[in-house]
Symmetry: C2
Subunit: 391 residues, 2 copies
């Protein structure tokens, strides 16, 4: 049957990460491929208590609810922004099914076919997939150690007049790179002069284990979208994220959300709110930060020890990933094949580009392996790189 | 700022139901407007038990999971279809955020701008909203007492070659109408001869409180989509529905689902599965059926008693709604204004048409009011109709 499916379906790249994750289900493989939080960080007993409380009191958690989300949870999020100096009202917060749904809703309300979407280079693969369904034209701006290259950014914005710029300013996926304070301010100046909406995705911001917190880019912008998530703070399985936007944008987001699935899981919204009310989230976050710092330190130490000295890598101050660059001309896809024979896995860099990938790069996840596995895995990977160099 | 939003956003009708629900939050108003299940039917203690079990055993429920959904839950659904004579494998089931998300995903994978979408007349408002975002051309076929008008259906399919036909064959929202067995078989013959996909939405099928179960239309179709939901069986607040589709369609649905929100709430999937494993769902369903039959019988009895005899209404054998037709020339929107002054609410019929609405119709919900409220509310509404007739 011809043309059974919509044109947009041909615009979505298969998730290579998804394919890899299937391979790495084999328990013999040490996998740095996925993007999973460490399950030791999940407060399952506390959430069980919260669930018991929520469900014993009433049936409210089980009924249909408002599209915007559970008001006390939105208040909690708004108050947390106040603490970090950002003036946000709960009216400007929509609860989504993880921040991935935030990307879909942003695509839905903003993108006509052929609109330019500016992305970082490399960028979060699933953002390319989410926006790809609305058939935009992707243009990309390279990342430097302290955020995007501002000269190229200015040029791209002027040349392509993009509808949105999608950015992960804190501990970016896949690179681990964080935008400097100066760059955040400069970006404010650039975007306040044009019509491009800055879409700031911040799933990892709370997981800073070194250095000082930096204000969201939103602080320097007149018009923007900010995405947040409980996936790395509480639990990804509960699929709870949120979008912060001004009233005009929020009206459209609510219309799109309602048409897409009426509202987010209300039971989970109430459970997470109960948990956040009954426990000190800072204590919980500090536990995660401490755990990930140990794992990240172990990984960079082992890379220094086992990788050839001409291999470069980022040293993220938070989040879950670091980014490795092999010497020019080497292929991380070839390395992937060799490493898999050594029972160690990662994600080759080319999955994170909309076009013209840097073939000598790859992503390592440090949040979901203990130090023993990290030491052994990086040792094996070092051997794989040496094998590749000899080829 | 001009053209800030995508063109598709102008194609989504505001939800009149949503606006009405805001008005009816006033506790003095007896509302037959919403589409809420009776919260007395929610098994909150049993779900609390299930949640405790799921969360005490492991952190698995809190981690990222597969896009397709929790395998044992998909097995449960497939087995339940087997019991009703439908051969479905769990591989052909995708768990969604309520069946509303099923509609969004169907729109996403099938609809190019301008494709014809065939709908019933009247139809479920939120289907118009979900598909509307993909900018199709809606064409509609009238409902008779035993399902769509087959002659007009054939004509519409031949003339417009629609990509999909969206249908609610059991206790339709808004009319309460159910397709006869003969009509289901005839529909199979019509659709097996062309390329239109029959999208069968069945959120109410399990809530039959009179008459005999009928097989899904899917049984007579070579290629189709079937949507199911736990919203009316267990809880709508948990947002769990599913799509049944063949492998080719399923591949596309999974790609679209992954791009849209990665996967559905995994904790809720495990809780609902635990509940369904530990308790007899038939006992639970019988409780709901009995409750709704009493409420529906009360409503039709009171309509007979208090409405003028020239007012027509459906007598659904299940589900949550019935449909009222005032004498030609009367306006249910005018009635709505009068009724609201009498503190009783419903949804005027025009909300359920994509074009050329029948202005003398309206929808009544009987699932979310007890018999006392139904008696008092229908009495008031009868008075409102008499006031309108005198105008």
């Amino acid at each position: 049957m011809k043309n059974l499916f919509a044109d947009r379906m041909s615009k979505v790249p298969r998730s290579f990460v998804r394919e890899i994750l299937k391979v790495t289900e084999n328990p013999d493989i040490i996998s740095f491929a996925g993007g999973l939080p460490n399950p030791l960080s999940f407060p399952h007993n506390e959430l069980a208590e919260a669930a018991a409380l929520v469900l014993s009191n009433s049936s409210k958690a089980l009924q249909y609810s408002s599209t915007e989300g559970y008001e006390p949870l939105r208040d909690y999020i708004a108050n947390r922004y106040h603490l970090s100096g950002l003036d946000v009202s709960s009216d400007n917060i929509l609860i989504t099914n993880g921040s991935q749904q935030g990307l879909d809703l942003v695509g839905k309300i903003f993108l006509n076919r052929g609109d330019a979407v500016l992305i970082e280079r490399p960028t979060y693969l699933a953002a390319i997939q989410a926006f790809g369904l609305y058939e935009p034209k992707f243009v990309s701006v390279p990342l430097l150690d302290d955020g995007v290259d501002l000269n190229i950014l200015k040029n791209m914005v002027e040349t392509f007049n993009p509808k949105i710029f999608y950015s992960v300013p804190n501990f970016q996926n896949p690179t681990g790179i964080t935008y400097s304070l100066e760059k955040r301010k400069e970006i404010g100046k650039i975007f306040n002069k044009n019509h491009t909406i800055f879409v700031e995705d911040n799933p990892y911001g709370e997981i800073r284990f070194m250095g000082d917190d930096l204000p969201p880019v939103k602080k320097y912008l007149k018009k923007s979208i900010l995405l947040g998530s409980f996936s790395k703070i509480v639990s990804p399985g509960m699929r709870l994220g949120w979008i912060v936007a001004d009233n005009e944008i929020m009206n459209n987001l609510v219309t799109a959300k309602q048409a897409s699935d009426l509202h987010s899981n209300f039971l989970s919204q109430m459970i997470v709110h109960q948990y956040l009310s009954d426990y000190d989230v800072e204590t919980h976050l500090n536990k995660i930060r401490k755990m990930y710092k140990i794992q990240r330190d172990c990984m960079t130490t082992m890379i220094k020890k086992y990788f050839p000295s001409d291999v470069k890598y980022t040293r993220p101050e938070g989040g879950m990933f670091l980014w490795v660059t092999l010497p020019e001309g080497m292929s991380s896809m070839e390395l992937f094949e060799i490493a898999l024979d050594d029972n160690v896995a990662f994600v080759p860099g080319e999955a994170f580009y909309s076009d013209d990938p840097e073939l000598n790069t790859f992503r390592l996840n440090f949040s979901n392996s203990d130090v023993k596995k990290i030491e052994e895995g990086i040792k094996r990977l070092g051997n794989s790189i040496k094998q590749l160099e000899l080829k």
